[in-house]
Symmetry: C2
Subunit: 316 residues, 2 copies
Amino acid sequence: MSNIPDRESIIAAHERVAPFIHRTPVYTCESLNKITGANLFFKCENFQKVGAFKARGGMNAILSLSSEERKSGVATHSSGNHAQAVALAAKENGVKAYIVMPSNSATVKKAAVLGYGAELIECEPTLQAREETLQTVVEKTGATLVHPYDDHRIVEGQSTAAKELIEDVNEKLDFILTPVGGGGMLSGASLAAHYFSTGTKVIGCEPSGADDAYRSFKSKKLVPQINPQTIADGLRTSLGKKPFEIIMRHTEDILLADDAETIAAMQMIWERMKIVVESSSSVPLAALIRNKDQFAGKNVGIVISGGNVDLKELPF
Amino acid sequence: MSNIPDRESIIAAHERVAPFIHRTPVYTCESLNKITGANLFFKCENFQKVGAFKARGGMNAILSLSSEERKSGVATHSSGNHAQAVALAAKENGVKAYIVMPSNSATVKKAAVLGYGAELIECEPTLQAREETLQTVVEKTGATLVHPYDDHRIVEGQSTAAKELIEDVNEKLDFILTPVGGGGMLSGASLAAHYFSTGTKVIGCEPSGADDAYRSFKSKKLVPQINPQTIADGLRTSLGKKPFEIIMRHTEDILLADDAETIAAMQMIWERMKIVVESSSSVPLAALIRNKDQFAGKNVGIVISGGNVDLKELPF
């Protein structure tokens, strides 16, 4: 138990990051309630700084650095949103940031990282290449590694999104659904529900083509993600060890959605809610629609994880 | 003066429609403030019912019908959003609606009108065809004509968007910018500023390829729009007589933007603000950027008129 962030550490993280992040709105949508038969509450982290919830974890990690660590900077790898989050948080705190990104990351995400003044190092789009490149950067610069999800400071930061969702919805939530990639958001939301909304079940939603969290959860053994095939570029990473430990204790279930279902859900969100969301953000709605009966008549919080899309590469 | 809606009639319209419409949020965006050098306040009517401010005018018109008029239903012509607005308002009040739409209206707009249970009558995409078809429908059915903009009940309804914008922004607005097509929104906003925010200048923004309001305003004589060429499908209509009368008294100026500028502004709004807006809604930001110096350092309200786009036909 001692290894898992406690209630106080999440409250402290929230107080730490609150002045630097947006308290994003919770949206409802009558027409999506009709389609799904559930009462949906969307936590719109696409309106968060850097366009994604990752701003929370990145900010919490940078604010937790010692003054000694600040001097040598920070380094991380990310398919995109965490990269921007660390770059922005570093910039706002006068810290140098080295960002390793897979070469197939969205152009808009690379541009944003450069825009925040970070140093961008591209690598092959495999987990192994990312981690090796990052290791080299850390050895060369002495920068502190800020892992995108396998880090309790990140988990605590991400948990503040679900904490706000719980605080800002007047009704009791029966469920909270989040996407799951590395597991930072899912483990953070699971902790937030555990500490601040007893009885709210947290469910991770994952693309069928990158179902390592599903297989890990069902087999109770961490299975790495090899050669993921999904449009949801934020969810291609392998589940981290630290998030996995929390998920095994506090997450209710993991549900899957095919890319076609995710694309349909994404289009529904754009057309009905008039908001720009990433494909990764659309996996929970897709999974909910696939498992409609389970959620009928229930109050369901959904974390819209981000809104950074390449408008020239839309899937519909 | 007696011909123009007075302060009390706008307050009354607001009280009438308020229970039936969303009080849409006002968004700010640091990165667009940086790009433009102005302090922008976006009134997000893309989040309005039917996805556009037209819900306001449509609802005000239907709620103003006599019980006798309700029996024979209502009829209107529209390139899209007004059609949905009248269809929804009619449905919610148990009134039959006949909607004349140009055959080149966006598929999503036609589908929405049918979804609200209205009768859809398609016509050639010219103003003349629309008005003739509408006349035939009115003669055949006895329905009350609810003109999309040349009607004071509509102007009063639309004015409530700018009224709310004025009420919800804590600072004094130097300018309010709205798109101008038929003139319902622009004349309504001009009246709202006149009655509720003395000194706030209201400016209409129009596509260069459909510049009848610009030419009418400059020549002080109503010039019809013939063969409009613009991507902004909501702004192809001719300025109405009643709006023109109000605009000549209470509007500060009319600015133009080319389609390329409008598309660039639209992409900026999608990418930076993460909201889905129509091309018509992007004309004010495009015109502001074209005339940057005029707005530098000023507080500028911008009415985002709607968010109904065909995702398969995006211009970028």
